[in-house]
C-alpha cells in the first residue's frame, strides 16, 4: 500500500507531463474545430446560380454520382484571402484536372460577377448563398473553406482558410490524392 502511494506523485507527474507535451506541441492548432461532416453525406442544400454569369447553380444532387471526387470551395468577392486562393484553385483545375464547384457566400451578384470577370472563372458550377444558410448547413466558420467530396457524395476532407503557400497546398494535394485512391479502391 505504502509503495503504491509513493509511486502516486510520479504517476501524476507523468500524466500531467503527457498533457503538457500534447498541449505545447507547436503543430497543434487549438482553434481547429473538427468538422462533423467528415465521412458523412454532403448536407442538403440547393442554391440558385449567381445572376448574369451563365454558370448553373449548385445543389446536393450535383455532388452525388460523380466518377471522381470533386472540390467544393466557399468563396466571396469581399474575402481578400480568396483572391490569393483563386490562383491556386485555377492552377489545380488547369494542371491537375480537378472538378471545382463554388459556393458564393453572402456576396452581391454584381460583385461576384465583376470578381470572376476580373480573375477568371475556374468553377464548373456556382451556387449563390445570399443569406449564408447553405454555409451553416456545411458548418463553415468563415471564408474561404474547401471541401473534398467523394463521387458518392460523402464529404472526405475540409480545409479551413485559404489554400495558399507550399504547406497548405501540399496538405490539400495529399488529401486529394487519398480521396482519389479511395475511389479507385472502392470500384
Amino acid at each position: 500500500m505504502r509503495r503504491t502511494l509513493a509511486a502516486l506523485p510520479i504517476l501524476i507527474a507523468l500524466v500531467f507531463g503527457a498533457f503538457f507535451l500534447w498541449g505545447l506541441n507547436p503543430d497543434r492548432d487549438p482553434n481547429a474545430i473538427p468538422s462533423v461532416l467528415i465521412s458523412q453525406p454532403a448536407p442538403t442544400f440547393d442554391l440558385p446560380p449567381v445572376e448574369g454569369i451563365g454558370v448553373p447553380g449548385l445543389s446536393r444532387e450535383n455532388l452525388i454520382g460523380n466518377p471522381e471526387p470533386v472540390v467544393v470551395n466557399v468563396f466571396a468577392s469581399w474575402c481578400v484571402p480568396c483572391r490569393a486562393e483563386h490562383a491556386v484553385l485555377t492552377r489545380m483545375v488547369e494542371r491537375d484536372g480537378i472538378r471545382l464547384f463554388g459556393i458564393n457566400y453572402k456576396d452581391k451578384p454584381e460583385d461576384a460577377r465583376a470578381w470572376l470577370d476580373n480573375l477568371g472563372n475556374p468553377y464548373e458550377l456556382i451556387g449563390s448563398d445570399l443569406n449564408g444558410r447553405a454555409g451553416i448547413e456545411w458548418g463553415i466558420s468563415g471564408v474561404p473553406e474547401t471541401f473534398i467530396v467523394a463521387g458518392d457524395g460523402t464529404v472526405l476532407y475540409r480545409y479551413v482558410g485559404p489554400i495558399v503557400g507550399a504547406d497548405a497546398e501540399a496538405e490539400f494535394a495529399t488529401a486529394l490524392a487519398q480521396a482519389r485512391t479511395k475511389i479507385g479502391a472502392n470500384s
Binding site: 502511494l5 456545411w138 458548418g139
Partner: protein
C-alpha cells in the same frame, strides 16, 4: 426613495450590456420566444470568436445562427430540437456546456477523481502520523531506565 433611484439608474446602465450583440431587427415580436432564443444563444459557442457565445458575438456567422435559432423557434421547435439542429451542423464544439458522454467522461469525472485521490491521500497521511505518535510512547522498562538516568544526573549535580 434614493435606493429605488439608484436601482433604476443601475438597471438602465446595465441595459446595453444585457442586449449583447443582438440587433433590433433580429428580436422576435413574441417576448416568450425571444427570451427562449436568448437562453439558447447563451449556450451556443460562436465558431469564429471562440469562447464567446453567439448571443454576445458580432461575427457574421453568429448573427446567422441567432437568426436561425429564432427561425426554428417560430417554426415550433422545442429548445432541445433547436440545439440539436445546430449541433448536427457544427458538432459538440458549438455547445459551451459539453455533453456527458463516453468521450467527455474524463472531462466531467476527473475533478471528482482528483478530489477522491486528494482526500484519500490526506487521510492516509493523517492516519499514519497518528500511528507513529502511538508507536512513540515508551514501555514501562524504558520509562524506568529514563527515571534512573534522570535521578543519576540530579544526584551528580547536587
Amino acid at each position: 426613495m434614493r435606493i429605488s433611484v439608484l436601482a433604476a439608474t443601475l438597471t438602465l446602465a446595465m441595459l446595453p450590456f444585457s442586449a449583447g450583440a443582438v440587433e433590433p431587427d433580429e428580436i422576435l415580436d413574441d417576448p416568450v420566444l425571444e427570451a427562449r432564443a436568448r437562453e439558447i444563444s447563451k449556450d451556443l459557442r460562436c465558431v469564429v470568436c471562440q469562447n464567446q457565445d453567439i448571443d454576445s458575438s458580432n461575427a457574421g456567422v453568429a448573427r446567422d445562427l441567432r437568426l436561425l435559432v429564432r427561425e426554428r423557434l417560430v417554426a415550433g421547435d422545442t429548445d432541445a430540437e433547436v440545439v440539436d439542429f445546430v449541433q448536427a451542423r457544427y458538432g459538440d464544439f458549438v455547445l459551451l456546456k459539453p455533453p456527458f458522454k463516453p468521450e467527455t467522461y474524463p472531462l466531467w469525472l476527473a475533478p471528482g477523481v482528483f478530489f477522491l485521490i486528494g482526500t484519500g491521500a490526506v487521510f492516509t497521511v493523517l492516519r499514519s502520523s497518528r500511528k507513529r505518535a502511538v508507536e512513540g510512547t515508551l514501555s514501562d522498562d524504558e520509562e524506568g531506565t529514563i527515571a534512573a538516568l534522570l535521578d543519576d544526573e540530579a544526584g551528580e549535580k547536587s
